[in-house]
């Protein structure tokens, strides 16, 4: 494997022509830098622990170049902004937690200077990750250890675990932060957990390979998507019974409510669409479709969805298409595609909604999107195969 990695030919080619990561960065990298960077990124992606000293050094060098240049410009721009407006707005620092599926770690990112401040060792195959409602803890589903670990946000270390059932992947908590609903991929159930007592309250039988989980803003309806059954199951949270099943396109992975509760958006990874469901009628009332010139249809695999609080703009991660689609919620049309890292999975807004952070599985990094400008402004290297992300409330 190593030999073939060093072999120039064996490294996968860089992104398609004109596809540098971090499109819309303040500075434009030279084509040479661009190529070298993406090659290093793919080398890193292919080789689990960095080994050969020379390659690692080169990698660090390129990383430095990559980081310094936008940073300098950023500082310049910020100070210019400050002078012009005479308002030295203090930067709002938020803390983002990123689960790294392959390296069994969680990276902690400080959004003030966009750096990784800590890497926390967790169980095997961390994926779904979310802050508790009070912001004191971070829960991370470690699927291969059949549990959800709890990280204390103060000490940034694992302090507890929850009885989740086998192979937990994604989960949702009720508005009060007392009940947790977990999708267990291996046994077609949703497990209900009392967060305070750390006790399992029961299971709900759903379709094959449950995955996506979300709760309606009023807390009354839980939505679970099952990947092989291709349905969104509507579950009454008080009776814990399925009240409706809505067929969507193949391999539904993620569900997101509009903040006004009028629609549920469900992404279908293999179907290549986002279905929009009326949660009262339990009907698909529209679909968002994607088309990117020069990219074959099969590469467009919608996964994570993020919606702004005013319900005007949705962001949809398109997996191996390496892009985030910006969708006008009213017209259900894509207005823009933002190039991010490779195989983009999930995303999280900063609480002020200025930035949107996306996890890029194959390129081992997180892209930072300026939400107002709809531009990618920064790329942060994290662990191997980053998957989920959550930001402190």
């Amino acid at each position: 494997m190593n030999a073939s990695c060093r072999h120039d030919v064996a490294a996968p080619p860089p992104p398609l022509a004109g596809e540098g990561r971090g499109e819309g960065v303040f500075t434009k990298k030279t084509p040479q830098e661009e190529r070298a960077l993406s090659r290093i990124a793919s080398l890193d992606a292919m080789r689990p622990p960095p080994q050969a000293g020379e390659v690692k050094q080169a990698s660090q060098q390129f990383q430095r170049i990559a980081e310094q240049r936008p940073l300098r410009k950023l500082t310049l721009r910020l100070s210019l902004f400050a002078t012009l407006t005479l308002v030295a707005a203090p930067a709002h620092a938020f803390i983002a937690y990123v689960s790294n599926e392959k390296s069994n770690t969680v990276s902690v990112i400080d959004t003030d200077n966009w750096t990784v401040t800590k890497t926390i060792k967790v169980g095997q195959r961390p994926r779904g990750i979310e802050f508790t409602r009070d912001g004191k803890f971070v829960m991370v589903a470690v699927g291969d250890d059949d549990t959800i670990q709890v990280i204390d946000a103060k000490t940034q270390s694992v302090v507890d675990s929850l009885p989740s059932g086998p192979d937990p992947e994604l989960f949702a908590q009720d508005a009060a932060g007392k009940i947790l609903y977990v999708a267990n991929e291996n046994d077609n159930t949703v497990t209900v957990i009392d967060l305070e007592k750390r006790a399992r309250l029961g299971d709900i039988q759903v379709g094959v390979e449950p995955e996506g989980m979300t709760i309606s803003p009023d807390g009354k309806t839980l939505i679970n998507t099952s990947e092989t059954t291709n349905m969104a199951h509507f579950i009454d949270t008080s009776s814990r019974q399925i009240v409706a099943n809505v067929l969507v396109d193949a391999r539904p992975r993620f569900a997101e409510f509009k903040h006004d509760s009028s629609e549920v958006w469900v992404s279908s990874e293999i179907g290549g669409t986002v279905s929009i469901i009326d949660p009262r009628k339990h009907e698909v009332i529209g679909k968002v479709t994607f088309e990117i010139p020069g990219l074959r249809k099969e590469a467009i695999q919608p996964v994570g969805i993020g919606m702004t609080k005013d319900d005007r703009t949705a962001f949809v991660a398109l997996g191996p298409a390496n892009r985030i689609a910006v969708v006008d919620v009213a017209s259900r049309k894509v207005t823009k595609y933002l190039l991010v890292g490779q195989r983009v999975w999930h995303m999280a807004f900063t609480p002020d909604e200025k930035y949107l952070l996306t996890t890029n599985g194959v390129s081992n990094d997180v892209s930072v999107i300026d939400v107002a400008a709809q531009k990618v402004i920064k790329t942060i290297q994290v662990g191997e195969l980053p998957w989920g992300i959550t930001i402190a409330p």
Partner: protein, 393 residues
């Protein structure tokens, strides 16, 4: 009276939408031969339920979904012993089953297809990889989930060419199917610019596959058989009959890798495939069948899942309706291969990525990057529409 009737209808509707009292029964037949073939490697020896075990899992998966759609799937298995009339068995199976999964040799499959044509039974060829079933001998009532020889050969060839191992020493067995696989390999070499530097034939002189004397002779025979070859990068073996292929790796005169029927092997599926959520299905399969999943299991699983996908999308168990939907432009199925699988409408062959495996790991998945196609990159594998001789009838 009217109100009473309306109430009754309303009740009927409510009942169907919640949980249909009388689920629609959808019968699936499995038709195979009773004998299992003998392999050189003991660990590759197929189980007696090879194939049907995959169908059984898909029936379970379909029934989990069926709970929500009011459909219930059943599986009826029939194995043909030597000398038994295959048409008679197929006709009996078609009495109760509108869909039949077939693992039959090409001639037997054609006989069955022609006998069942007027009945409207839809056949799925899960076992035969013969090109002619999709070309000159194609049938409008046979869908192929098994890949073809040219798809397998092209998948391997693309990888070898990508590795720049473009000088091939081709070793062909003396049986008909070995020669057919060799034809496919020659075609691949010509398409992708590889060179077959020399061809050798390995005569099957009979003999047992297991002996107490073991490997001592083989260790001497194989180097002698492969010596004095012109310079080559990789030895490609065409040995579907399991006579010599598995004896080649590590025993060639020159230290060269082996591919084709041994070494790096192209397959529709492998027990080690764990990408794209496949781990969930592998786990379900092991739990149900107490063994690991083979390519034939997967080909049968996919066929039954195609039926389930179409019945849930059309909300119908009607064979004609389901057949039309599967053959129509909106059909696709998810099968843990990272992309949606669709049918080639000109010969009803399922498009699919092909795994390249070494017996322990998935080494790569074809189509390889850079092999482009105007319709689907999956059509870079095997005979494409312009070359096809198939006229569906």
């Amino acid at each position: 009276m009217i109100r009473w009737l309306a109430g009754l209808i309303g009740f009927g509707l409510a009942a169907t939408s919640a949980l249909a009292a009388e689920p629609a029964l959808i019968g699936v037949g499995y038709l195979g031969v009773a004998a299992t073939r003998s392999t050189l490697s003991l660990v590759e020896q197929p189980a007696e339920n090879d194939g049907v075990a995959g169908a059984r899992l898909a029936i379970e998966d379909n029934n989990t979904t069926g709970k929500f759609t009011g459909q219930r799937f059943t599986l009826e298995e029939r194995r043909i012993k030597e000398g038994e009339d295959v048409v008679q068995a197929a006709t009996a199976l078609a009495e109760k089953n509108g869909f039949i999964i077939a693992d039959l040799p090409a001639d037997a499959l054609l006989k069955v297809a022609d006998a069942l044509r007027d009945r409207g039974t839809l056949l799925f060829n899960a076992g035969a990889i013969d090109e002619r079933l999709r070309e000159a001998d194609c049938r409008a009532n046979v869908i192929h989930t098994a890949p073809t020889r040219t798809m397998l050969a092209d998948a391997l060839g693309q990888y070898l060419v990508w590795k720049k191992w473009s000088r091939w020493l081709l070793v062909v067995g003396s049986h008909d199917e070995d020669k057919l696989f060799a034809d496919a390999i020659r075609r691949t070499a010509a398409r992708f610019g590889a060179k077959i530097v020399q061809e050798r034939t390995f005569e099957d002189k009979g003999g047992a596959r297991r002996t107490d004397s073991g490997v001592t002779q083989i260790q001497r025979q194989m180097p002698v058989f492969t010596q004095q070859a012109p310079a080559y990068d990789v030895l490609v073996a065409a040995d579907e009959s399991e006579v010599f292929g598995a004896y080649l790796p590590y025993r060639t005169w020159d230290p060269r890798p082996v591919a084709g029927s041994a070494g790096l092997v192209p397959r529709s599926w492998d027990a080690s495939q764990d990408q794209w959520g496949a781990i969930q299905m592998q786990n379900r399969f092991i739990k149900l069948n107490s063994r690991r999943m083979t390519p034939l299991d997967m080909q049968a699983w996919t066929a039954v899942r195609m039926i389930g996908e179409a019945t849930s999308r059309t909300n119908s168990g009607d064979v004609k309706k389901v057949t039309d939907f599967i053959k129509g432009p909106d059909f696709s199925v998810a099968a843990f291969k990272g992309t949606r699988l669709t049918l080639r409408d000109w010969n009803l062959q399922l498009r699919q990525p092909i795994l390249l495996v070494d017996g322990r790991m998935v080494v790569s998945v074809s189509p390889q990057e850079g092999f482009l196609h105007q319709v689907s990159e999956l059509d870079t594998l095997g005979y494409d529409r312009p070359e096809s001789k198939c006229k569906l009838k």
